[in-house]
């Protein structure tokens, strides 16, 4: 199934910026600096990720290698590479064209970093507060600035997502063994102005809108810490891929919601448009965001009759 408007001829994948070597841990004075250093770090290992929501729990383990803002994830059907605006997987590849810079929402404060030990290594624990509650914790390796683990909490303080390295190898010498080299087409998601979604939703800013996949339009939102995309699709969508999900009542309306270890998916229809939301935002943010997006509603009677008559 072809993706987007533009299909490029095989382009050599630049094994870009493979920064092998230690990154001296600079004194990072704010969260942004810590996260930037984490992106530039180099490490390999297995990562376990666990999410829970309303009694539903999912858990997964993946092998990863990360260097120079690229991450390689091993899977049964092949490796996936993510980073720098592109994803190369076994069933296709996509690059987003152009992007806007955002900033960290001022609802977050960082508490004093604490020196701790993690996986037998010297590490720093970052605590990110949102108002009175702890929203997230991140453990950073002192030697490599790599993230060793993280926790994300729901608004009521309960643990929502937990992720940690099961084992950890800093600065591995073997990297990206399966790097695509000159092979593989990829699709480009071009900038679009066709989104009907608001520019902000509960502290999240809509930074970019892209075409695709297919006839969908993607709006990307972030608050500097969490992010999500909302895809708009004309008409109804087949919800078979979301069979593991369940109906959730959020803000008084019914949505189809599915949890994966690292993300939450929400699918609904409003009028003649279907929406698919995917992101890593915590449940209370999700509810507040959904309140500012088009609400679920049936197409009106006239529209239904019309469609019934004419297909």
């Amino acid at each position: 199934m072809s993706r987007s408007l533009l299909r490029l001829v095989p382009v050599a994948v630049v094994a870009a910026a493979v920064l092998v070597g230690t990154v001296a841990p600079a004194v990072a004075s704010d969260l942004g600096s810590y996260l930037d250093e984490a992106e530039a770090s180099s490490y390999a290992g297995r990562q376990a990720t666990w999410s829970t929501l309303d009694g539903d729990t999912t858990f997964g383990v993946v092998s990863v290698e990360h260097a120079g803002s690229m991450t390689m994830v091993e899977g049964a059907s092949g490796d996936t590479m993510i980073g720098a605006g592109r994803v190369f997987g076994s069933s296709g590849a996509v690059v987003v064209h152009g992007w806007s810079a955002g900033s960290l929402s001022d609802r977050y404060q960082m508490a004093d970093p604490q020196a701790v030990t993690r996986l037998g290594r010297d590490a720093t624990l970052l605590t990110i507060q949102e108002g009175d509650t702890v929203r997230a914790r991140i453990w950073m390796d002192d030697a490599t600035s790599a993230p060793l683990g993280s926790e994300v909490y729901d608004g009521d303080g309960s643990l929502f997502r937990l992720s940690y390295m099961l084992d950890f190898t800093p600065n591995p010498t073997r990297l990206y063994a399966a790097l695509r080299d000159g092979g593989g087409d990829f699709d480009v998601a071009l900038p679009s102005d066709r989104s009907s979604l608001p520019a902000t939703a509960d502290g999240y800013s809509r930074l970019d809108v892209y075409t695709g996949p297919g006839d969908a339009v993607q709006a990307f939102f972030t608050d500097g810490l969490f992010s999500f995309s909302v895809f708009e699709v004309q008409g109804s969508v087949d919800t078979t891929p979301f069979a593991d999900g369940s109906t959730a009542k959020i803000n008084g309306s019914s949505y189809l919601r599915m949890l994966t270890p690292s993300e939450v998916w929400v699918v609904w229809k409003s009028g003649s448009m279907s929406y698919v939301l995917v992101g890593d935002l915590p449940p209370d943010h999700l509810a507040d965001v959904l309140a500012e997006l088009p609400r679920p509603s049936e197409a009106n009677l006239f529209q239904r009759i019309w469609r019934g008559l004419f297909g």
Partner: protein, 208 residues
């Protein structure tokens, strides 16, 4: 000795007797209480009854805290139960938080996971009974739906067959290739600074 008639509110306010026993009298109350107890037989009797009850309560056995409740306690059978989705919600969180901090249990957990996957992938074999005895039914109160996606099976979700959509029969539905939506979101998200949480892709049919 004649019983002195006391105003109603005095004897009605007997909780001062407990306060007296607990050393919690307010300033000035002590003299009043002592004076009253000198004269009022009802209150004296009550005082002794309460004193006795208080003493009985305070000599109830002080129970030991079960060691397994300490955060540092290493989960044993709980690890298998965790993999099988048999743990109550709170216990699940505690075990997972412990795993995040304990190297030894993490290795054991991974070995259990690997063994379980290996056993379950053998053709024609019945999955074994739980490695440990099944927990008492009264314990597994908040049973969660549990789906484990293991490294061996993680991969991109397959493109979906065209099917009739949930939102009504007659209107045509667009098929969704979840992997494409996931990829395009992750492609853009990869440009943002993040936690280092690697997207774990769906693997269909991975229910326990």
């Amino acid at each position: 000795m004649a019983r002195v008639k006391h105003p109603d509110d005095h004897c009605a306010n007997q909780d001062v007797l407990s306060a007296y026993l607990d050393g919690e009298l307010r300033p000035g109350e002590l003299d009043e209480v002592v004076a009253h107890l000198t004269d009022c037989l009802d209150c004296v009797a009550e005082f002794h009854r309460i004193k006795e009850m208080r003493a009985a309560l305070r000599t109830l056995p002080d129970l030991e805290l079960p060691e397994r409740l300490l955060p540092s306690a290493h989960p044993g059978p709980e690890l298998s139960a965790l993999l099988d989705g048999e743990l109550a919600t709170i216990e699940q969180e505690i075990v997972l938080l412990h795993l995040g901090e304990c190297d030894a249990c993490r290795s054991e957990f991974h070995e259990l996971d690997a063994a379980r996957t290996a056993i379950r992938s053998l053709p024609g074999l019945e999955p074994p009974e739980f490695l440990m005895t099944r927990r008492d039914a009264a314990r597994a109160r908040h049973r969660s739906r549990w789906r484990v996606v293991t490294a061996a099976a993680a991969g991109m979700a397959a493109a979906v067959a065209i099917a009739v959509g949930v939102f009504g029969g007659p209107p045509p539905t667009s098929p969704i290739d979840v992997s494409q939506f996931s990829d395009q979101h992750n492609a853009r998200a990869s440009l943002e600074p993040g936690f280092g949480v690697i997207p774990v892709f769906l693997s269909q049919g991975e229910a326990p």
